[in-house]
Structure formats: structure tokens, C-alpha cells
Amino acid sequence: MSDDLKTKVQELIDSMINPAVAGHGGFVELVDVQDNRVYLQMGGGCQGCGAADITLKSGIERLIKEELPEVAEVLDTTDHASGSNPYYQAGKA
């Protein structure tokens, strides 16, 4: 079951998610799927990006859940502090 879901998530990442985030120099990798929870890692412009949470929660997670309603949650395992080229950098107003 988990392997099947993993394959479907990977297909979504390849066909819809990575083409979208590539516009900001980013990419997403599937780390694992366990108990219907999807673990992802973000890289490139997404790693350390000030908008990474928006992309993950309102973009990626929404898309995955719409396409694969059995997914309970999408979790970010990225070490954002190590991002060397974030697309947006947080700072003071």
C-alpha cells in the first residue's frame, strides 16, 4: 500500500510539483511515505526560502491531497538553515 502511494506521490512530484517550483530554482524530493504521511525535502531556491511554508502547505500539500485523498499529511524534513540560495530571504520590514 505504502509503496503504491509512494509511486503515486513521486509521479505527482515529477509531473506537477517540480515543474512548478523550478520557476524559482527549486526542487522537491520524496524522502518517504509512512502511515499515509508524506515526507519531503526541498532544495535549490526552496531551501531556506521565506515562502517555503506557503509553497509546502498551500501549494504542494493541497495538490497532493486533492490528487491522493488518502494522504493524511505532508511534512517538510528540509534543513532550511543550510539553504545556500533561497529564492526569498526573510528580514525586517
Binding site: K57, S82, K92, A93
Partner: protein
């Protein structure tokens, strides 16, 4: 399910904490930024691009969305979004401050005019046009003074001047800062600066929530590092305050009177005040919550975050308590010691191992160009601590900071 709109600038530190709070509450979240999301085409009802500098335009665009799928609340997460959030909420008839009140709070000159008219204690001030000759403008200024932009936050561009030469240098430096590509100011904020009397004394920050015009103090932070200039770098915040209870009450009363004078009645407030023999003085009142990642020092009731309180209030949901946990807590905003490119950070594990330190979060990345105050707009990171006393919190923060080494070249 209630729908909530968060206004999240791409440069804010606050995104993660507000999104986490929205998830905890289980609302249907709509996120708006000033730049398009890579997923906007996939989720047009949940991802918006709004021009935060055009509050009317933003309100019109959101009203169209809300007509199809009504919103229950709108929250701007930091300074850049307060006016747009108020304009949108006002248009939709949602809980908010009046746009005029938030606009006044966002403009340091308008704010001082309102406060002075209401008799709230503030430094004497003058607005000076950037097109004026600074030498001539300095004639009307009493020294020492503090020169600052009308609209930037977190001490950016704030410079003490002890004499005419200092004033002229500060004037030119702020004018150059306002012309930078990474500074977005318009209208009066792009054409004027503010010179105000320097007020000696202890500085505190009050975090509050306005409910129906009543200010509830959520936390009063001491700032134990002296802020005497020439720049006013925010570093350590510790709560609860070690000031006597009577002084704290006086500060809360003055902060509440400042909110009333501005017409602020709902939502978060972050106020900066000084205290000396003459009593409390209001330096700033912002219609937003504390900046950076500093809110992570605050927990309420059984662990509720500041962001959850703000969202619950905006949604009109019940709030279990506004009482902060008893344990003293603090944060250090790690300042940028000099300009350059960050090459390496050493000592993270050692800093994190200091007793009382809960977390050391580095927000600057290796390779990043870093700029110190007064031009700078970022921190290297944040250190968080909790301990049995405010003194122990402060000591832990200082110890952890001393163990961090930033190679900047």
C-alpha cells in the same frame, strides 16, 4: 470551516509560525504575498498575489474572492501588511482597526501627532523634508536627538546625533538608505525623516492584544542591553520585566492611552517605551505583533502560541487565557557585527548546549551578504532561553551568543 486570509510578505520571518497556528486551528487557509506563488495557478482560491502598497486594490481583489468563498478573518503578519489587512477587513466587514488608525500607527510622524494631541508622553519631534538642506534643518533641532525614517521598523535607519555634524551625517545616511532598491517606501515616508529628542532611560517592549478597545498586556519585555546609540540594535528581550510592579503598571497605562489616541481597538499591538525619572515615554506603537522569530518566547495557558491567540481573536473564536506561562523566557536577536559575506558559523552545538537555552536558530545562510545596522535588514539568527529567573535567562542568552563565531569576510 472558517476561511482565514493571511497576508505574508515574502521577506517576513513570521510565515512558519502563523501557518502552524492556522493548521492547529484547522481553518481553511488562504495565503497572500506580494509576489506570485509557484502554485497560484493550481490553487487560485488559496494563493493570492496582492500589492500590499495598494490597500484599496488589495481590498477589491480579495472582495471578489470572498464573494465566491467568504472569508471569516484577515490577518497581516507584520508591518508591511497592516494597512492592507485593515483595508481588506474593513471592506469585508470583518473585525479590524480602522484603516486611518493603522495608517497613523505605520507613519512615525502621524503617530506622534496623534499621541501629542492626546497628551501621551512622547519625545519632542520634528518632521524634516529630505529635500531640505540638513545644515539649515539642524538649526531647529535640540541635541542629542534621534533621526529616523518615517516607516521602517526594527531600528533600521535609526541614528543618534549629538551635534550638527552628526545630524548632517545621519540625515544623508537615511536619505541614501531610503533610496536603496531593497527599501520600499512611498509617499511621505520617501520624502521626509523624523528628528526627535533623545530620551535617556530603560527601554521595554510591550506585547499586547486589543479587544474591543481594551489593551491586554500579554508580555512586558526588558531590554537589558543599553540602547544609547549611535545605532539602536535590538538584541536581548527578557520577560517578565524586572521593573517594579508600579512602574510596569504605569507603562501599561501609557501604552493603553497611546492605543486609544491612535484609535486602535482590535488585534495585536507591539509598543516600545522608555522609562526614566519623568515616567514612561512612548517611542513606537505598531498595530502588529512582535517581529522576527521572537514570538517563540511566548506561550499562553497550556502552550498556546501568540499567533494562535491573534488568529483566534481575528476569527472571533474563544481564547482560553491571555496569561503567559510563569517561567521567565527570553530571546536574543543575533546582530550582524560587520558587513560582508557570511563564510561560516561555528559553535552552534556549544551554544545550544548552554543550560536554559532551548534553541539556536540561524536564519542567515552561508554565502549570504550581511549588512549591519543602520542599513541592515536582517539578523544572523535567534537564541531562545527559559530559566527560573529573568537573570538566568539573560545569562544563558549571553553565554550562548559568546559561543557562536561568525566568519564574515
Amino acid at each position: 470551516m472558517d476561511r482565514l486570509l493571511l497576508l505574508l510578505p515574502t521577506t517576513t520571518y513570521r510565515t512558519e509560525d502563523f501557518i502552524d497556528a492556522a493548521r492547529t486551528l484547522g481553518v481553511d487557509l488562504v495565503c497572500a504575498s506580494e509576489e506570485p506563488s509557484t502554485f497560484e495557478a493550481h490553487a487560485p482560491d488559496h494563493l493570492l498575489t496582492l500589492d500590499f502598497t495598494d490597500p484599496d486594490g488589495a481590498a477589491t481583489k480579495v472582495a471578489e474572492l470572498s464573494a465566491r468563498r467568504p472569508l471569516r478573518a484577515v490577518v497581516g503578519v507584520d508591518d508591511l501588511t497592516t494597512v492592507a489587512a485593515a483595508a481588506i477587513a474593513e471592506r469585508l466587514g470583518l473585525r479590524t482597526n480602522a484603516v486611518a488608525a493603522v495608517t497613523a500607527a505605520r507613519d512615525k510622524f502621524q503617530m506622534r501627532q496623534c499621541l501629542a494631541a492626546a497628551g501621551v508622553p512622547i519625545p519632542r519631534f520634528r518632521r524634516i523634508a529630505l529635500k531640505d538642506d540638513p545644515f539649515l534643518a539642524a538649526r531647529g533641532v535640540k541635541f542629542p536627538c534621534v533621526v529616523k525614517p518615517l516607516a521602517l521598523s526594527a531600528s533600521r535607519g535609526v541614528i543618534r546625533a549629538n551635534n550638527v555634524d552628526h545630524f548632517i551625517a545621519a540625515f544623508r545616511r537615511i536619505a541614501a538608505l531610503l533610496g536603496r532598491d531593497d527599501v520600499e517606501v512611498r509617499g511621505d515616508a520617501a520624502q521626509f525623516l523624523l528628528a526627535e529628542e533623545y530620551i535617556p532611560g530603560l527601554e521595554v517592549a510591550l506585547e499586547g492584544l486589543l479587544v474591543g478597545g481594551t489593551l491586554h498586556t500579554l508580555a512586558l519585555f526588558d531590554k537589558p542591553d543599553p540602547l544609547e546609540g549611535p545605532y539602536f540594535e535590538e538584541t536581548i528581550y527578557v520577560t517578565p520585566s524586572r521593573l517594579p510592579a508600579a512602574v510596569q503598571q504605569a507603562i501599561e497605562r501609557v501604552a493603553a492611552s497611546a492605543c486609544t489616541a491612535l484609535g486602535l481597538v482590535e488585534g495585536p499591538v507591539h509598543a516600545e517605551l522608555r522609562f526614566n525619572d519623568a515616567g514612561p515615554w512612548v517611542l513606537e506603537v505598531a498595530a502588529r505583533s512582535i517581529g522576527g522569530l521572537c514570538s517563540r518566547t511566548l506561550r499562553f495557558g497550556t502552550g498556546m502560541s501568540l499567533e494562535e491567540i491573534i488568529l483566534r481573536h481575528a476569527l472571533g473564536w474563544p481564547i482560553e487565557t491571555l496569561v503567559r506561562e510563569r517561567q521567565p523566557a527570553g530571546v536574543m536577536m543575533i546582530p550582524i557585527p560587520r558587513a560582508g559575506r557570511l563564510q561560516a558559523v561555528r559553535g552552534h552545538d556549544s551554544a545550544a548546549s548552554v543550560a536554559g537555552v532551548e534553541d539556536v536558530t540561524l536564519t542567515a545562510h552561508v554565502g549570504q551578504e550581511v549588512v549591519p545596522l543602520p542599513e541592515g535588514w536582517q539578523y544572523l539568527g535567534f537564541i531562545f532561553a527559559r530559566a527560573d529567573t529573568p537573570e538566568a535567562v539573560e545569562a544563558a542568552l549571553r553565554d550562548a551568543h559568546a559561543r557562536l563565531k561568525f566568519d564574515i569576510a
